[in-house]
């Protein structure tokens, strides 16, 4: 499978009022720019856990029948093979036939990351037995702070132990993954806070990035989209 960086083709994210499409540009740039619009930084000056509204967060009208924002031309998933906090190797290419939801977070994030995790937890609860069709993968944006103990505590606190694979690594190991997925991660103001891209990518059963959810996504959208993602 050809695994180029995301964004080599246009991104479509629209809503009932009118779909929007972003023109194609260089590899990685399109999705990166949309994601940066779609998300907010963790911590810092955020007035609440409420992410900023963005045009990419509206449900798609023209593309497919997903409830989440969709890519106009689905991109092949970038490589993602890292170790989880227990030391097990996880490679999302092994999840053919299942929907995969990929997000980028860190454990001591005060607002957006736990909101994403809570919404994913609630989506799993709504999915019930259909949750077997989806794998949830979180990738650390804080190589230093996301220790095995911190990850374990985070997953337990959000009742996601065994339900979310939390991938960690050194900065050298994580940086190429962030780049391939169009994710930025930095510590601009504080050693304890990380400004990072915070969205949820929906990967189809055939390994294509089909949907892109803002950090304040509705679990109902995920519940609707998971069977579709798994089947495509």
């Amino acid at each position: 499978m050809n695994r180029r960086p995301l964004g080599s083709r246009g991104v479509r994210a629209g809503g009932p009022i009118g779909a929007k499409a972003w023109p194609s540009s260089g590899a990685g740039a399109v999705i990166a720019s949309v994601v940066l619009l779609a998300v907010t930084a963790c911590g810092g000056s955020s007035p609440s856990t409420q992410p900023k509204t963005n045009p990419a967060a509206k449900p798609a009208a023209a593309a497919a029948s997903f409830d989440g924002p969709t890519l106009a031309n689905p991109a092949v998933e970038p490589p993602l093979a890292l170790r989880d906090s227990l030391g097990h190797t996880v490679n999302i290419s092994a999840y053919q036939g299942k929907a995969v939801l990929v997000t980028f977070i860190y454990t001591h994030c005060p607002d957006v990351c736990p909101l994403i995790t809570a919404n994913l937890h609630n989506a799993l609860a709504l999915l019930g037995p259909r949750a077997s069709k989806v794998r949830i993968v979180a990738v650390s944006t804080d190589p230093r702070g996301d220790t095995p103990a911190a990850v374990s505590a985070f997953l337990a606190r959000h009742a996601m132990t065994g339900r979310m694979e939390y991938l960690v690594g050194t900065r050298a190991a994580l940086k190429p993954v962030w780049k391939a997925w169009g994710v930025s991660a930095s510590n601009p103001t504080s050693a304890d806070e990380v400004n990072h891209t915070a969205a949820v990518y929906g990967i189809s059963g055939s390994g294509k990035v089909m949907t892109l959810y803002a950090s304040n996504f509705k679990p109902a959208d995920i519940v609707h989209d998971v069977p579709l993602l798994a089947s495509q």
Partner: protein, 163 residues
């Protein structure tokens, strides 16, 4: 000509009224509160009726909720018998939530919304999110993000004047 000008002014005025009406937050009946109690006594929409209420969704993992927590307790005390304050712990771990409530000495009842359903029904998009209900159980104000004692008390008192 003069008639046309008057008609134009009337049209613009009508459009402005429509626009203002559309931009005003909709008043709607509050969705049901969750039935699980974390701390204190059970509260329902029926038990809240008769005076304004402040329903505040929070979580122990939410940084902005930590910032708001002391103000919420002070607002509850300032409001006294004029209104009921109810906390709703949203998508949270029960033991962490109990510690949170204890740390900030909250004296008002706190309910649990473990799967987030009540919060979604109210329309939260993040935390904290507070909803002011009038004496008849209608949502008359939505407050997103951490509030101050003054903003909380003012919003609830406005609902009291409306009732």
């Amino acid at each position: 000509m003069r008639l046309a000008a008057v008609a134009l002014v009337a049209l613009v005025s009508a459009a402005l009224v429509v626009a203002l009406t559309r931009s005003a937050p909709a008043v709607r009946a509050a969705p049901a509160l969750p039935g699980r109690v974390l701390v204190g006594t059970p509260e329902t929409l029926v038990s809240l009726r008769g005076r304004p209420a402040l329903v505040d969704f929070f979580a122990s993992w939410c940084g902005p909720c930590v910032a708001e927590a002391p103000a919420l307790e002070r607002a509850a005390r300032a409001l006294g018998g004029r209104a009921t304050v109810v906390g709703v712990d949203w998508s949270d771990n029960r033991s962490y939530a109990r510690r949170f409530v204890g740390r900030y000495g909250w004296s008002f009842p706190v309910l649990e919304d473990p799967d987030g359903k009540a919060g979604y029904a109210y329309g939260i998009q993040g935390l904290p999110s507070a909803f002011v209900l009038d004496a008849r159980g209608a949502i008359v104000r939505r407050l997103f993000g951490p509030q101050t004692v003054a903003s909380l008390v003012a919003a609830v008192d406005a609902a009291g004047r409306r009732s």
